[in-house]
C-alpha cells in the first residue's frame, strides 16, 4: 500500500510540476489570496466567475486553479481579519477577535506570521490525509447503488442543516427549497419541462452559477452597502514579522489541535473552512490559561487559521471519492468537472488517476507558494485594503455579470441572477442561511433520479432504504444527527458556539 501511495504521489507531482500546471496553480492561489484579502468577494463568486473560462483549459489545470482559489482565500482572509478587524473571508470571523487585538498592541507581524505558518502546516497535513483516506473511501463508494446514493445525499443534506447557523427548522426548509429549485427544468424521464412557464431559457433548468452568484455575490454587495463602511487599517504598523520563541511555543499546541479538528470537520457533510475555524476557537478557549482570550492571545489566531485551512482541503475528500459536495465551493467544483465532461464520483480515481493525484500534489505546492506570497509580500496586500469599497463593488459586479452572461450568452441569466440577489437579501434579513439552499439545489436532480431508480428496483418498497446495510447505516447516522441537534442541551451550546 505504501508503495502504491508513493507511486501515486509521484504521478501526481509529475502532473502538478509541469510548467503549465505550476502556472495555473500560482494564478489560483494568487487570485485566492487577493479575494481573500478583499472583503466582499469570496471564493464562491470568484470560482463561479471563472467557470466559463475554464472551459478552454485542460481538466487538470482547471481543477488545480479552482482549488487554489479556495485554500488561497483562507490565507488571505486572515490578513484582513488581523489588520482591519473585518473578516476578509467568513471563515476568518473568529480570527478577528484576537488577531485584531494583537495588531492594536503592535504585534500584527507575529500574528500574520503565525497565521501563515499554521495554515502551511495544516495544509501539508491535510494533503497527506487526503492521499491516505480518499482511496479506501472511493473503494467503498464503488459498491453504491441508487438506494445508497440517495441515503448518502440525505445524510449530506442533514449534515449541512445541522451545521448551519441558527434555526434548524429554517435550515431544513431552505434545503427543501433548494431541492425544489433544482427540479426546475426538463424532467429526464418524461421530457416534460417543469416550472418553466414556456420560458425557453428555464426549460434547461436554472444554472447553478446563477443561484450561487445571486445569493452569495450580489447579496453580499447589497448587505455591505446597507451597513456602510467603517475601516481602520493598521497599514504602517506591520513591523517585525518574526514571532518570538515564546510565541512559537505558545501556538504550536494550538496549531496541532486546530489542524486535527479542522481535518476531521472538513470531511463532514456541511463542514469545511467556516465550521472548522469556529470549532477550533471554541476548543482553544476551553483549554489551559484562558484569561488572555479576546485580548490578543496568539493561540486564538493560530488555532482557527490552521483549522480553516485544514478544513478547506479535507472537504475535497467527499467530492473526490463520493462525488458529493459538502459545501457551496465543492458544489462549484462539481460544476467545473461537469464542464470538462468528467462525472464526479469514485470512478474518477481509478479512471483518471493523474487528475486526482495531480490535484492533491498541487495542493501541497500551492501551500508552499502561499507562504511565499503571504509573508514577504504582505505590504502589497495591505495596500490593497486601502482601496475604498465604493470603487471595489462596481468592479466586482462587472466580473459577476460577465461571468453569468458568458455561461450561455443569455441576458436572461443575468436578470435571473439579479432576482436571486433580491431573494438572497430577503434570506439574510429573515436569518435564513443560504448554504443549505445551494447544497439542496445541486443535489436536487441527483436525489430525484436516485430515488426513482431505487424505488423502481425495489418495486415501490420504500423500506429498501433501511434494509440495505450501507443505506440503512447512512440514514441511521442522519436520524441520529437530527435527534442530537434537537436535544435541548445541545441546542443551547450550539447557539453559544455560533454567537461567539
Amino acid at each position: 500500500m505504501d508503495f502504491a501511495l508513493i507511486h501515486n504521489l509521484s504521478i501526481g507531482f509529475g502532473v502538478a510540476l509541469s510548467l503549465q500546471n505550476l502556472m495555473y496553480c500560482f494564478f489560483g492561489v494568487l487570485l485566492g489570496t487577493l479575494i481573500g484579502v478583499l472583503p466582499g468577494i469570496g471564493p464562491v463568486a470568484t470560482i463561479a466567475m471563472l467557470l466559463p473560462v475554464t472551459f478552454n483549459l485542460s481538466p487538470i489545470s482547471a481543477l488545480i486553479m479552482l482549488a487554489g482559489i479556495y485554500y488561497g482565500a483562507q490565507y488571505g482572509g486572515s490578513t484582513t481579519a488581523i489588520l482591519v478587524n473585518l473578516p476578509g473571508e467568513s471563515s476568518s470571523v473568529v480570527t478577528c477577535l484576537d488577531g485584531y487585538q494583537m495588531a492594536r498592541q503592535g504585534r500584527a507581524g507575529p500574528a500574520l506570521a503565525i497565521a501563515a505558518m499554521g495554515s502551511f502546516f495544516a495544509g501539508c497535513v491535510a494533503t497527506v490525509i487526503i492521499a491516505l483516506f480518499a482511496p479506501p473511501l472511493a473503494e467503498v463508494a464503488l459498491k453504491f447503488g441508487p438506494a445508497e446514493y440517495f441515503s448518502l445525499m440525505v445524510l449530506g443534506l442533514v449534515g449541512a442543516t445541522v451545521l448551519a447557523h441558527g434555526s434548524l427548522v429554517k435550515a431544513i426548509a431552505m434545503t427543501i427549497l433548494g431541492l425544489l429549485l433544482g427540479v426546475v427544468g426538463t424532467d429526464v424521464n418524461s421530457g416534460i419541462a417543469r416550472f418553466s412557464f414556456g420560458i425557453s431559457e428555464l426549460s434547461d433548468g436554472i444554472n447553478f452559477v446563477v443561484v450561487a452568484m445571486g445569493v452569495f455575490g450580489f447579496t453580499e454587495i447589497i448587505v455591505n452597502l446597507e451597513q456602510g463602511e467603517a475601516r481602520e487599517v493598521f497599514v504602517n504598523k506591520v513591523t517585525g514579522l518574526m514571532p518570538t520563541w515564546k510565541d512559537l511555543k505558545d501556538s504550536s499546541g494550538a496549531i496541532l489541535r486546530g489542524t486535527a479538528l479542522g481535518s476531521a470537520l472538513g470531511i463532514l457533510p456541511g463542514g469545511g473552512a467556516l465550521l472548522s475555524s469556529f470549532a477550533a476557537y471554541t476548543l482553544e478557549k476551553k483549554i489551559g490559561d484562558t484569561s488572555k482570550f479576546g485580548k490578543g492571545e496568539i493561540r486564538g489566531v493560530a488555532a482557527p487559521e490552521s483549522a480553516n485551512n485544514a478544513g478547506a482541503q479535507t472537504s475535497f475528500i467527499p467530492l473526490l471519492t463520493l462525488g458529493i459536495p459538502s459545501n457551496p465551493v465543492m458544489a462549484l467544483m462539481i460544476g467545473a468537472m461537469m464542464i470538462q465532461g468528467i462525472a464526479p464520483g469514485p470512478q474518477v480515481m481509478t479512471e483518471r488517476p493523474e487528475l486526482f493525484w495531480g490535484m492533491i500534489a498541487s495542493m501541497w505546492i500551492g501551500n508552499l507558494m502561499l507562504v511565499i506570497l503571504n509573508l514577504p509580500l504582505i505590504g502589497m496586500w495591505v495596500k490593497l485594503l486601502t482601496v475604498p469599497y465604493r470603487m471595489l463593488y462596481p468592479s466586482i459586479l462587472l466580473f459577476c455579470c460577465v461571468g453569468v452572461f458568458s455561461l450561455s450568452n443569455a441576458p436572461f441569466d443575468v436578470m435571473l441572477t439579479a432576482l436571486f440577489g433580491l431573494l438572497g437579501y430577503i434570506f439574510v434579513k429573515l436569518e435564513c442561511e443560504p448554504a443549505p439552499l445551494i447544497l439542496g439545489f445541486i443535489l436536487g436532480p441527483l436525489m430525484e433520479e436516485n430515488l426513482r431508480r431505487a424505488m423502481l428496483l425495489s418495486r415501490g418498497d420504500a423500506t429498501v432504504f433501511f434494509t440495505k446495510p450501507i443505506s440503512g447505516v447512512l440514514l441511521g447516522i442522519a436520524v441520529a444527527l437530527l435527534l442530537i441537534t434537537l436535544a435541548p442541551a445541545v441546542q443551547k451550546t450550539r447557539e453559544e458556539a455560533f454567537v461567539e
Binding site: 434555526s167 418524461s190 447589497i222 462596481p394 462587472l398 460577465v402 433580491l422 420504500a462
Partner: protein, 195 residues
C-alpha cells in the same frame, strides 16, 4: 395575538408560499406512482413538506423567546401590487401582444422593476437594475457602453458618488474589459453597437 419574532413570521410565510406554489404548479404534470414516479411526484412531496415546515416557523413567531421587530426590511406594498397587476395583465394578454414583442418585453421589464423596487433599500434597486440593463444591453449596445452603464448606475447606489473617481474607474474597467475579456479570454462580445 402578538407577533414576537417578525423574522420568523415573514420567513414562515415565505416558505409556505413557495411550498404551496410548487404543489399547485405540479398539478399540471402527471403524478405517477411510488414505483414509477411521474414528474409531479418529487416536487409535490417536497412542496408539501416545505409548506408544513413553513407553518411551523410561522406559528413559532407568536411564541418565540427571541424578539425581532415586525418590520424586518423596507417593503412597499403598493409597488408590489402594481407589479402583480402589470405582470398579470401582460401574462394574460400575451396572445394580444404576439405581434408586438417589444411592448410585451417592455411591460415584463416594468413589472420586474416594480417588483424589485417593492423590497429593500435604494442601493439594492440600483445595483440590480444596473446588472439587468447590462445583461440586455450587451448585445445591442456592445461591451463599452454596457460597462459605462453598469458602473455609473451601480455606483449611484453607493453612499457617496464621486464623479471624477467614477470616471477614472469606468475608463479603467472599459480598458480592462476590452483587453482581458475580449482580447485575452476571447469572449464573443462586440465592442460597439451594431457590429
Amino acid at each position: 395575538m402578538h407577533i414576537k419574532n417578525g423574522k420568523d413570521f415573514w420567513a414562515g410565510l415565505m416558505f409556505v408560499g413557495f411550498g404551496v406554489w410548487f404543489m399547485l404548479v405540479s398539478l399540471n404534470y402527471p403524478m405517477g406512482s411510488a414505483v414509477r414516479m411521474g414528474p409531479a411526484y418529487f416536487p409535490t412531496v417536497l412542496g408539501g413538506l416545505l409548506a408544513v415546515l413553513g407553518g411551523m416557523v410561522f406559528f413559532r413567531a407568536f411564541f418565540s423567546k427571541i424578539d425581532h421587530p415586525f418590520k424586518v426590511f423596507a417593503f412597499r406594498p403598493l409597488l408590489l401590487v402594481a407589479a402583480i397587476v402589470v405582470g398579470g395583465a401582460t401574462y394574460f394578454a400575451s396572445d394580444l401582444l404576439k405581434d408586438a414583442p417589444m411592448v410585451e418585453f417592455a411591460l415584463t421589464g416594468l413589472a420586474l422593476l416594480l417588483f424589485v423596487g417593492a423590497f429593500g433599500p435604494r442601493s439594492m434597486f440600483l445595483i440590480l437594475l444596473a446588472c439587468g440593463i447590462f445583461g440586455y444591453a450587451l448585445k445591442p449596445l456592445g461591451l463599452v457602453l454596457s460597462i459605462v452603464i453598469l458602473i455609473v448606475v451601480s455606483a449611484a447606489g453607493g453612499h457617496d458618488f464621486r464623479k471624477i473617481e467614477i470616471a477614472y474607474l469606468t475608463v479603467g474597467l472599459v480598458l480592462f474589459g476590452v483587453l482581458v475579456f475580449v482580447k485575452g479570454l476571447g469572449l464573443p462580445f462586440n465592442l460597439w453597437p451594431g457590429e
